[in-house]
C-alpha cells in the first residue's frame, strides 16, 4: 500500500442541498490555513470512495452534516477508533453511507488512528436551499475545532517520534 498521508481531513456533503454542504464548507475554510502535513479533501460521501480515502490516511477527521435529533447547529464529536458508528438511515449511494464506510474500513483492518467524526445537526436539506443560520454559524466554530484537533495530532505525533511534515 502507498504511504499514508499523515492527517487527512474529509469534508462530506452535497454543496447544493442546504445544510448538507456544511462539511465541505469547513474543509474549504481549513484550506485557507495552509496546514503543513494535513491533506484536505471534499467529497460527496459515496461509501467506496470514502473507504479508499480512509485507507490512504494515517489519521483522519471527517466532517459531515447529519440528523441526530439535536438542536440545529449542535456539534457532536465521535472517536470511531474507540466505538462503532451506529448505522442510521443512510442517504447516500445504494444504502451505504458514512457509518458503513467506516465499518467497512475497520473490517478491512485499515481504519486510520485516530479517526474522528465531527457531525453538525442540520435542518434544511432541500435541493437548491441555502445553509440554515444555525449551521452557517457552526461552520467557523467547527473549522476552529478541527484546527485544534490537527494541532493536537501533530503534537502527539512529534512526541511519538513521528513527523507530520
Amino acid at each position: 500500500m502507498a504511504e499514508r498521508a499523515a492527517i487527512t481531513v474529509i469534508g462530506i456533503g452535497n454543496p447544493q442541498r442546504g445544510d448538507d454542504a456544511a462539511g465541505r464548507l469547513v474543509a474549504q475554510r481549513l484550506r485557507d490555513h495552509s496546514l503543513a502535513g494535513v491533506k484536505i479533501i471534499e467529497c460527496n460521501g459515496e461509501a467506496t470512495d470514502l473507504v479508499d480515502r480512509l485507507r490512504r490516511a494515517a489519521s483522519a477527521i471527517i466532517i459531515d452534516a447529519a440528523a441526530f435529533g439535536a438542536k440545529p447547529g449542535t456539534v457532536r464529536r465521535l472517536d470511531v477508533a474507540a466505538q462503532c458508528v451506529p448505522a442510521g438511515r443512510a442517504r447516500s449511494s445504494h444504502g451505504l453511507g458514512l457509518a458503513e464506510a467506516i465499518e467497512l474500513t475497520r473490517a478491512l483492518g485499515a481504519l486510520p488512528l485516530p479517526c474522528l467524526i465531527y457531525l453538525v445537526q442540520g435542518s434544511v436539506w432541500e435541493a437548491g436551499a441555502a445553509l440554515s443560520p444555525p449551521v452557517a454559524a457552526a461552520v467557523p466554530r467547527l473549522a476552529d475545532l478541527i484546527l485544534s484537533e490537527t494541532r493536537a495530532m501533530r503534537a502527539l505525533s512529534s512526541l511519538a517520534g513521528g513527523s507530520c511534515d
Binding site: 460527496n44 459515496e46 461509501a47 467506496t48 470512495d49 473507504v51 479508499d52 448505522a87 442510521g88 438511515r89 443512510a90 447516500s92 449511494s93 445504494h94 444504502g95 451505504l96 458503513e100 465499518e103 467497512l104 475497520r106 473490517a107 478491512l108 483492518g109
Partner: protein, 435 residues
C-alpha cells in the same frame, strides 16, 4: 375480515430509494404483490421544462449518483435526434468508453457490496469484508477503475460535467488515457476472477419466462445505440417507443408502471441485454459465460449477478479496445444547428436496463416537454411478478426471514439509487382466519 401481519422494517440495507411491499396471501398463494417506490425522475421532468436543451445532460445526471452517465447519454442522444445531428467517430467511441466506466463501477458495487452478502450468508458487506477480505478488496479496486474512467472522461467521478450535446467540452489526449489502459489490464483479470467467484454461489432454482427488452445493435453489445427489441418479436426504432410502451398509474405507488403492447411486465437490464445480444459478445466472454454455468439465455434472476460480472468483464475488454484505437478528434464536439420546433428520442442501456428519454423543443431550443422512463420503473411490474411467483414457497418462514427473502428478490434488479426501495415496509395480508 382479513387479518394482516405487519412487519415494520426500519431500514432496508443495500437497496436505495424509499418503498414498501405488500403481499396478499390467499390459500397459501400470493395473489398480489404490490411494490411502492419513490420516483424522482418525475420531479426532474418538471425541472427540465423551460430550460435550454443544452442543460439537459447536466440536469439529468443529477437524477442518480450511481448511473449519471446513463442519464447524460440518453439525454444527449435524444437532443441530437431532435437537432438532426450525430456524434460519430472517436466522439462516439469516447461515449462508449464512459459508459464502460459506469457499467464497471455500478455493477461492481452491486455485485460485491450489495448482492454477494445475500448468497454468502452475510448480514452486510461489512460482515463479508471480515470473512472474505480478499474478495471485497478486489471489488473495491475494480470499482475504482470504473470510477477512474468517469473521472478522466467526465471530469469527476460522480455527476460528470464534461458531457455536452454534440460530444464533450474537452476530449482527452491519448497520453491521458494510457494510465487507464494499464489499470484495465488488471481490471480484466479481476473481472475474470469475479465471474468465477460469483459462479460458485448457490442459486435458488427459480426462473420465469420473461419477455426480455433491450437495445440491439448491428455489430456491438448495446450501450448507446440500437433498435429496441424483445424476446417476443418487438423490433422498433427508439422513436417508436411511445407507440408500444405505455406508462400507467397503479393505485398503491407514485411510480408509473410500464407495459409493452398491453402485455404483463417485461424485463430490462443485464439478463435481457445478455439474452438478446449474446452473439454480440466476444468469443472469450461467451466462453466465460458457459464456464460460469449460464448459457446464451439465463432466466434465473438470482443468476443476474453472474451476468453482471460478465458485463463487467466485457466492459473492461471493450474499454481497453477503445483506448488502444483512440486518436484525439480535432474538435471535442460536432457543430450544432440552430434549434427548431422538434421532438427527440433517446434510449441507452443503463447498468440496470433501458433508459428512455423524450424531449420536445421549442423554436429557441427551450425544452417544452420531457419524459424520462428509468429502468427500475420499467422493471417494477416484473419485480412484483417475481415476488408473486416466488414468495409463495417462503410463507412458512418467520417474518424476519420472509422479509430477507423478499429483499433479496428485489435486490436482483439492482434497483436504482433514485427509483427503488430504501425503507421496505413489508405487510402480509393472509386473509380471514389465517396468519
Amino acid at each position: 375480515m382479513a387479518r394482516s401481519r405487519t412487519i415494520e422494517v426500519g431500514y432496508l440495507a443495500r437497496v436505495e430509494g424509499e418503498g414498501a411491499l405488500h403481499l396478499s396471501v390467499r390459500s397459501d398463494r400470493v395473489d398480489r404483490a404490490e411494490l411502492r417506490i419513490f420516483e424522482p425522475p418525475r420531479f426532474f421532468e418538471a425541472l427540465l421544462r423551460g430550460r435550454h436543451y443544452s442543460e439537459a445532460p447536466d440536469i439529468t445526471s443529477r437524477i442518480c449518483g450511481i448511473c449519471p452517465v446513463a442519464y447524460q447519454m440518453s439525454a444527449v442522444h435524444a437532443m441530437e435526434a431532435a437537432l438532426g445531428v450525430t456524434a460519430g467517430g472517436q466522439l462516439r467511441a469516447l461515449r462508449r468508453l464512459l459508459y464502460c466506466g459506469e457499467w464497471i463501477e455500478s455493477h461492481t458495487l452491486h455485485i460485491y457490496l450489495l448482492q454477494a452478502p445475500d448468497f454468502l450468508g452475510a448480514e452486510s458487506a461489512i460482515e463479508l469484508a471480515r470473512t472474505q477480505r480478499a474478495a471485497v478488496e478486489r471489488g473495491l479496486q475494480l470499482k475504482k477503475v470504473g470510477n477512474e474512467i468517469l473521472r478522466v472522461l467526465g471530469g469527476r467521478e460522480v455527476h460528470p460535467i464534461n458531457v455536452k450535446v454534440g460530444g464533450f467540452y474537452r476530449v482527452p489526449t491519448p497520453q491521458e488515457l494510457k494510465p487507464l489502459a494499464e489499470r484495465l489490464d488488471w481490471a480484466e483479470a479481476a473481472a475474470r476472477d469475479t465471474v468465477s467467484w460469483v459462479a460458485g454461489f448457490d442459486f435458488p432454482d427459480l426462473s420465469r419466462d420473461y419477455e426480455f427488452v433491450a437495445l440491439r445493435h448491428p455489430n456491438e453489445y448495446p450501450m448507446n445505440e440500437g433498435q429496441i427489441v424483445s424476446s417476443r418479436g418487438l423490433d422498433i426504432a427508439v422513436a417508436e417507443y411511445d407507440q408500444h410502451f405505455a406508462e400507467q398509474h397503479v393505485p398503491y405507488t407514485h411510480a408509473l408502471q410500464s407495459r409493452l403492447d398491453g402485455r404483463s411486465g417485461y424485463l430490462a437490464g443485464p439478463l435481457a441485454r445478455f439474452a438478446l445480444n449474446f452473439d454480440r459478445l466476444p468469443a472469450d466472454v461467451q466462453q466465460a459465460a458457459r464456464a460460469a454455468g449460464v448459457g446464451a439465455v439465463c432466466r434465473n434472476p438470482y443468476q443476474g449477478i453472474i451476468v453482471r460480472a460478465l458485463e463487467v468483464l466485457y466492459a473492461c475488454i471493450e474499454a481497453r479496445r477503445i483506448i488502444a484505437a483512440y486518436e484525439r478528434p480535432a474538435e471535442p464536439a460536432v457543430a450544432l444547428p440552430a434549434p427548431r420546433p422538434s421532438v427527440g428520442h433517446g434510449a441507452t442501456e443503463a447498468p440496470r436496463g433501458l433508459l428512455y428519454h423524450r424531449y420536445e423543443l421549442d423554436a429557441d431550443g427551450t425544452i417544452a416537454a420531457a419524459n424520462i422512463v428509468p429502468p427500475t420503473a420499467q422493471n417494477q411490474a416484473s419485480i412484483e411478478e417475481d415476488l408473486r411467483e416466488f414468495a409463495g414457497s417462503w410463507l412458512a418462514l418467520p417474518d424476519a426471514q420472509l422479509r430477507l427473502r423478499c429483499e433479496a428478490a428485489i435486490r436482483n434488479y439492482d434497483p436504482c439509487i433514485s427509483c427503488a426501495t430504501h425503507f421496505l415496509r413489508l405487510t402480509v395480508d393472509r386473509g380471514a382466519g389465517d396468519g
